[in-house]
């Protein structure tokens, strides 16, 4: 890794979007163009996350540990889950029971889920010990936590949609927890059709959406820097501005 090749990304100040607005030339400069929802959306998007910040070709030198691998590994495992899930959904829920190829892709799907949770948990622990919510990064932490929490029912709906003995047993056990909090009234784990819909459409949209928001927030705020040496030896007496998660 060579050092010093790329300057720090520019801040996300509104002015950063000028280049994006400038691309539209005279149209954006007119009062009509400034009222345009499209222009405003573009300027807000580019202002919040200019291209060099969205896809930087450099990272601060402190981004130098194996723990950082687990974030991108989680993302990659999610891609394998979605890919194998798409193939399984193309052929329908019974395919994997009847064919070797189907069973192969179901196994890929299962192990990708196991890898996803494993890498995500390691990533979460790593980010906890970094106190990665510092510096106005609370939303980064919270979207990561939500991704983990949503992934759990996403996986559960997969287990109860398997149409085998596992599905029979897990659904008849899980129903008690759902019913006890009233969720069973609208989320019936013994209804295969409903669970299959949640598993292949609603939960994937939710998980992918939250993970996408998480990644964009990481890119917007950058990777959390290390604790300063002096700060570690003398924590502030009043409050903890470094650990405060107030969004920027």
């Amino acid at each position: 890794m060579s050092v010093g090749a790329t300057p720090p990304p520019s801040s996300g100040a509104p002015g950063a979007g000028a280049s994006g607005a400038g691309a539209s030339g005279a149209v954006a400069s007119t009062s009509q163009g400034k009222r345009s929802w499209t222009v405003r959306t573009r300027e807000a998007g580019v202002g919040a996350l200019p291209p060099e910040k969205l896809l930087p070709d450099g990272q601060p030198t402190y981004v130098d540990s194996w723990i950082y691998v687990f974030g991108v590994a989680t993302l990659a495992a999610l891609m394998v889950i979605v890919g194998s899930g798409l193939i399984l959904s193309l052929k329908g829920p019974a395919w994997w029971h009847d064919t070797g190829v189907g069973h192969f892709f179901n196994s890929i799907h299962l192990w990708a889920v196991e890898l996803f949770f494993f890498t995500m948990v390691v990533h979460l622990w790593g980010k906890y010990w970094m106190a990665a919510w510092r510096g106005g990064r609370a939303r980064v932490w919270m979207t990561g936590a939500i991704a983990f929490l949503i992934a759990i029912p996403a996986a559960l709906t997969g287990y109860v949609s398997q149409q085998n003995f596992d599905a029979q047993w897990i659904s008849t056990q899980a129903k008690d927890a759902m019913n006890s909090i009233g969720a069973g009234a609208f989320f019936n784990v013994t209804n295969f059709g409903q669970m299959y819909s949640w598993h292949i459409l609603l939960f994937p949209i939710a998980v992918v959406g939250v993970v996408a928001a998480h990644v964009l927030l990481v890119r917007r705020h950058g990777v959390v820097p290390p604790f300063e040496l002096a700060e570690r030896s003398k924590p502030p007496k009043q409050g903890h501005p470094e650990t405060d998660g107030a969004p920027s």
């Binding site: 060579s2 050092v3 090749a5 790329t6 720090p8 896809l55 930087p56 601060p60 030198t61 402190y62 981004v63 130098d64 540990s65 590994a73 993302l75 990659a76 891609m79 394998v80 029971h97 069973h103 179901n106 192990w111 990708a112 196991e114 010990w129 970094m130 932490w141 919270m142 936590a145 759990i152 287990y159 085998n164 003995f165 596992d166 599905a167 029979q168 047993w169 897990i170 659904s171 008849t172 056990q173 019913n179 006890s180 909090i181 069973g184 009234a185 019936n188 013994t190 209804n191 295969f192 950058g222 820097p225 290390p226 040496l229 002096a230 501005p241 470094e242 650990t243 405060d244 998660g245």
Partner: protein, 316 residues
């Protein structure tokens, strides 16, 4: 909450080349390869589901005992409460009674769903129709007397040829005729279709047959053999030696200890506890103490050891 302005300073030190897209592509390749290797080595579990036909053939006494409990309203489903019926209030935690509040959304009258309606589909069997009519017309006390006596006799029942049941003679009223007909229907596979019947041609809701089977012992025996019972941390396991839903370990853990283990309201108590813990997990950045632990226990020194090694302390 006050808005602190003294945030973590933006990094003004050196930057290093970092190819994010290349890193993602390599990670995707590695994860795909890992999934393929794990697939080749371990495949995935797919134990065939149990059917009511299998259950009634392999365990006719248990099937009929379960059916009798559905008939007289003493089965797990019959006494469940919402969302299936009004037989109980359901679980609660102090004043919180969401199970009762949400009401009966999937109504199941077990006697009708599992006995009367399936028996009506048996064509041209006058004896069964007469027996059902006799049972329905009898006083509640008499019906209870018949079903209790028959249930006791079933404990010593023997299995005859072709899966039929033999019980000692007794005062069972029309119950044996009804149950023998239901057993025959189940053993031919006809009961499954009955329980999936609705106003639609296509079916996808297995609530009725699953609850019926869960009231019996077949699923439980299979689950015990596969270490899937609640006391075996079963909610996070799956058949075979697979990792299952290991991420549910904390949720499952609470069921193993008191006061949850013996509580009739264990499910709602555990779900509420996990909801509180999940909120705490979500809101760590705002919770004093929890957010300070990484400062007190400096694991970050290991993570950023290269940085700290190369950056001199301001105090030095």
């Amino acid at each position: 909450m006050s808005r602190y302005t003294n945030r973590t300073r933006e990094w003004v030190g050196p930057y290093a080349h970092y190819d994010l897209v290349k890193e993602l592509c390599i990670a995707l390749g590695v994860m795909t390869l890992l999934a393929v290797v794990l697939t080749i080595l371990f495949s995935s579990p797919d134990e065939k589901p149990s059917t009511i036909a299998q259950w009634s053939t392999a365990m006719p006494a248990d099937f009929v005992t379960t059916a009798v409990s559905e008939l007289d309203g003493t089965s797990g489903t019959a006494e469940y409460g919402p969302p299936y019926n009004h037989a109980a209030e359901g679980q609660h935690a102090t004043f919180l009674k969401p199970q009762e509040w949400l009401g009966v959304s999937h109504p199941i009258d077990t006697a009708s769903a599992y006995v009367y309606e399936p028996l009506q589909t048996i064509p041209g069997d006058a004896a069964v129709r007469a027996a059902t009519a006799t049972y329905k017309a009898a006083p509640a006390a008499k019906r209870k007397q018949w079903t209790e006596a028959y249930s006791q006799a079933l404990e010593k029942a023997t299995v005859g040829p072709a899966g039929t049941l033999k019980v000692a003679p007794g005062e069972y009223g029309p119950v044996p005729i009804m149950m023998n007909a239901l057993l025959g229907l189940a053993q031919t596979g006809g009961l499954e279709g009955n329980l999936l019947r609705s106003n639609q041609f296509f079916q996808s809701d297995y609530t009725k047959p699953l609850l019926f089977m869960a009231d019996g012992k077949l699923l439980e025996e299979r689950a015990e053999a596969d270490h899937l019972l609640g006391e075996q941390w079963g909610m996070m396991n799956e058949t075979g030696s697979y990792p299952g839903q290991s991420w549910l370990w904390l949720y499952t853990f609470w069921y193993q200890i008191e006061p949850f283990k013996a509580s009739e309201n264990a499910d709602i108590l555990v779900v509420l506890l996990m909801t509180v813990l999940s909120l705490a997990f979500l809101l760590i950045p705002f919770i004093p103490g929890l957010r300070d632990i990484p400062r007190w226990i400096p694991v970050h020194r290991l993570i950023w050891r290269e940085h700290y090694r190369s950056t001199p302390s301001p105090e030095s």
